[in-house]
């Protein structure tokens, strides 16, 4: 309690330490920091690869020939084709690099769309309650329980009837994935909204005559979004896996429109039997690495947000760390990474109990 009051008056930590990921990075220690850093590095490389794909890739993703003639199919790695060529005669390295662009586009579109739809539905459902709420909960539970890939397949059939071009394919995949994710955001936001609705400040706002819309967006939504960054990272990796799965079973994007790792893996299915490993290994590794990187970041953020799972510093340094925690990216208490210790030299050292729940303090 006292901590809350004191930290409000404390000078704010420098802006950059309060940025979402930087804050957690400084908060983490040991193994956890290691995992977070590895995750961030991999994710960073992935994003850079996607941005600079045109510069990095030796050939275009649909390029079959250069000035020396056609590439030839299933060329083993080495020479002009560092990672060999596919059964269709494309350069494997180029398709792996270009594939990152497709992956990132689909991930961003899917996650952004599902956040908007899920948050809006959850907010309305939780705020107004009643039959609308019950209906939506049952529907979302049903959708949530259903195998994501199957739902995505059905959506894929609906949207594109199967195969399609660049943007058609990207949107088909992204929207298919969105439908799968909406229930997750819906559940989280709805639960938070129901909780926050009962808070005194919401009642005060209503007494003051604030409209429903204003209460929903200004008072409830702002306080309901604290777990979103976590679901965001976890979903981003799931989006990529679903995209790859869709590509693998033939809902991919045509190789002439864009490079897609799942599609390439599908085409390499028969290569494996004859011992041709490079056509499947590299696109597959690309998927694994990107999902690994993003998951490491998401996992670390998740663990850091949960005091029961967070690794602790040595006792001497710990004072106040738990209090500074938060699921809110950036920290709810505007406390520095070291907790009140870092901000107020005179503050009494608080030794956190392992089971300390920062939200109990409220």
């Amino acid at each position: 309690m006292t901590m809350l009051a004191e930290t409000t008056h404390a000078p704010k930590a420098p802006l950059w330490t309060r940025l979402p990921v930087v804050h957690q990075l400084r908060q983490s220690v040991g193994l956890q920091r290691g995992m977070l850093v590895v995750g961030l590095v991999i994710t960073g490389i992935f994003i850079l690869t996607a941005i600079f794909a045109p510069l990095l890739a030796p050939y275009g993703f649909s390029q079959l020939r250069d000035e020396n003639g056609t590439f030839g199919a299933q060329q083993s790695p080495g020479g002009a084709h560092l990672l060999g060529t596919t059964v269709g005669g494309y350069d494997v390295l180029s398709r792996v690099i270009w594939g990152s662009q497709t992956a990132i586009t689909v991930m961003v579109i899917a996650v952004v769309l599902s956040i908007f739809a899920g948050v809006a539905l959850g907010l309305v459902s939780g705020y107004f309650g009643g039959w609308l709420d019950r209906g939506l909960v049952v529907i979302c539970d049903a959708v949530y329980a259903f195998p994501a890939l199957l739902l995505a397949i059905v959506m894929g059939i609906v949207i594109s009837g199967g195969r399609s071009g660049l943007w058609g394919g990207i949107f088909a995949a992204a929207i298919s994935i969105t439908v799968v994710f909406i229930p997750q955001y819906f559940r989280v936001i709805r639960a938070e909204t129901v909780r926050i609705k009962a808070e005194a400040y919401v009642e005060s706002a209503r007494v003051l005559g604030a409209s429903n819309g204003r209460i929903m967006f200004r008072h409830v939504l702002r306080n309901a979004t604290r777990t979103l960054p976590l679901i965001f990272t976890l979903n981003a990796s799931e989006a990529l896996l679903t995209l790859a799965g869709l590509g693998f079973i033939g809902f991919g994007i045509e190789p002439s429109s864009a490079a897609e790792w799942g599609y390439d893996l599908n085409k390499s299915l028969s290569d494996v039997t004859s011992g041709i490993w490079w056509t499947s290994l590299f696109p597959g590794l690309a998927i694994v690495l990107v999902v690994l990187g993003i998951t490491l970041v998401g996992e670390s953020l998740n663990d850091l947000a949960d005091p029961r799972l967070r690794s602790r510093r040595a006792p001497g340094k710990t004072a106040g760390v738990v209090a500074a925690s938060s699921v809110v990216a950036g920290g709810i208490l505007s406390a520095g990474p070291g907790g009140i210790e870092g901000l107020e030299p005179d503050a009494p050292a608080v030794t956190p109990h392992p089971n300390d729940d920062p939200f109990e303090a409220k």
């Binding site: 049903a142 329980a145 397949i153 059905v154 011992g275 694994v288």
Partner: protein, 363 residues
């Protein structure tokens, strides 16, 4: 020993559940409510699939569009009743699904229920194997990671768990295939059995379609061995995906229970560390694990579609892709509806088991 661990929370929890539920509450009432909840779930999923699929047009045009002239198409559409108002078709479909009739496939002209029965057993078998792999790999490793929390084994196992999750099941399958089937030639590349074994099982008087049972029935150890060898790689590919989830789940929950007073009490009484983790801390951690297994069924079925395609394991997933390629949407709709029913039922069973174990779960 375990009764010591389990007992304290039970009476207290029992009181809470009694207070919450109205007169006549208890396991019977919970069973009933939970059972009734299956129907809206199935209804919603089946309806959703129906309306979504029908927005693409009628199934006959989709399947035979390029192959037949418009006149022939119109005749077929009329015969199948697809030219009636869609709302009538919808209610007819619901009635059919309720009686277990999923229509007739367009590409092969077989009843969908027959397709489901023939290939469903193969998928069930694969999922069963995968669950065994997941249990054997995931649960003990999860305990190990929890016990050595934040130490080297934990770090290694957590990365392993994330890798299990991060590797798409078809890529894992391709790698396993490449190493064990193509390079080492130790295991078969694809399929559920060799042609010889399949022939032997074909002529069984009462075959189940589940090769494990059928092969035992033939009484030929070579056939059984052949069937099991074929199952190793697909089971590993699909099982490892779930093993990662189990590992993380067991780890998190055992970490939670390892810090509790009764574990400390048991330790101070001199209970050995192995027993402490595998019995005292693990048993109470089981409840969330059972709940998650329910959700895993959905993941496993999704994964099975991909695994079956990778290993040419002729189950529902493999057929689903074949039907999608043939644009046979009646069959697709049937398979998806059946899987929805399976998911709803398995969630129901899991909830019941969870309620039997932990009275707090009951309504």
């Amino acid at each position: 020993m375990t009764t010591v661990a389990m007992k304290p929370p039970v009476p207290a929890a029992g009181r809470i559940s009694k207070k919450k539920s109205s007169p006549g509450g208890g396991i019977g009432r919970y069973l009933l409510i939970r059972f009734l909840l299956i129907f809206p779930t199935i209804f919603i999923l089946v309806s959703m699939v129906f309306w979504l699929m029908r927005t693409t047009g009628d199934p006959i045009t989709a399947a035979l569009g390029g192959k037949l002239g418009p006149d022939q198409l119109a005749v077929l559409i009329h015969d199948a009743g697809y030219d009636r108002p869609i709302i009538i078709q919808y209610f007819e479909y619901l009635g059919q699904v309720f009686t277990g009739n999923f229509g007739t496939t367009i590409s092969t002209n077989r009843p969908v229920s027959e397709v489901l029965f023939t290939y469903g057993s193969a998928t069930a078998e694969l999922v069963f194997y995968a669950l065994i792999v997941a249990f054997i790999v995931g649960i003990p490793l999860g305990m190990v990671a929890a016990y050595w929390r934040d130490k080297a084994p934990d770090a290694f196992l957590r990365v392993f768990a994330i890798l299990c999750y991060a590797t798409p099941v078809f890529f894992a399958g391709l790698l396993l295939k490449l190493v064990f089937a193509v390079w080492l030639k130790a295991l078969p590349v694809a399929g559920r059995a060799t042609v010889g074994s399949e022939l032997q099982m074909q002529f069984l008087p009462d075959k189940t379609g589940i090769y494990l049972i059928d092969s035992i029935k033939t009484g030929d150890p070579a056939v059984l061995g052949d069937v099991l060898l074929h199952a190793v790689l697909p089971a590993l590919a699909l099982g490892l995906l779930t093993a990662g989830v189990f590992l993380r789940l067991v780890r998190t929950n055992v970490i939670g229970t390892l810090g509790t007073d009764y574990v400390n009490a048991a330790r101070s009484r001199g209970v050995n560390e192995f027993r402490l983790v595998s019995k005292h801390a693990y048993r109470p951690a089981l409840i969330p694990i059972i709940t998650v297994i329910g959700l895993q069924v959905a993941l496993l079925l999704g994964g099975a579609v991909l695994t079956e395609t990778t290993f040419e394991w002729k189950g529902l997933g493999f057929m689903l892709i074949e039907f999608i390629k043939a644009r046979d949407f009646v069959a697709v709709q049937g398979i998806v509806a059946l899987l929805a029913v399976i998911v709803a039922l398995s969630n129901f069973i899991v909830d019941i088991i969870a309620a039997l174990i932990d009275p707090r779960v009951r309504y």
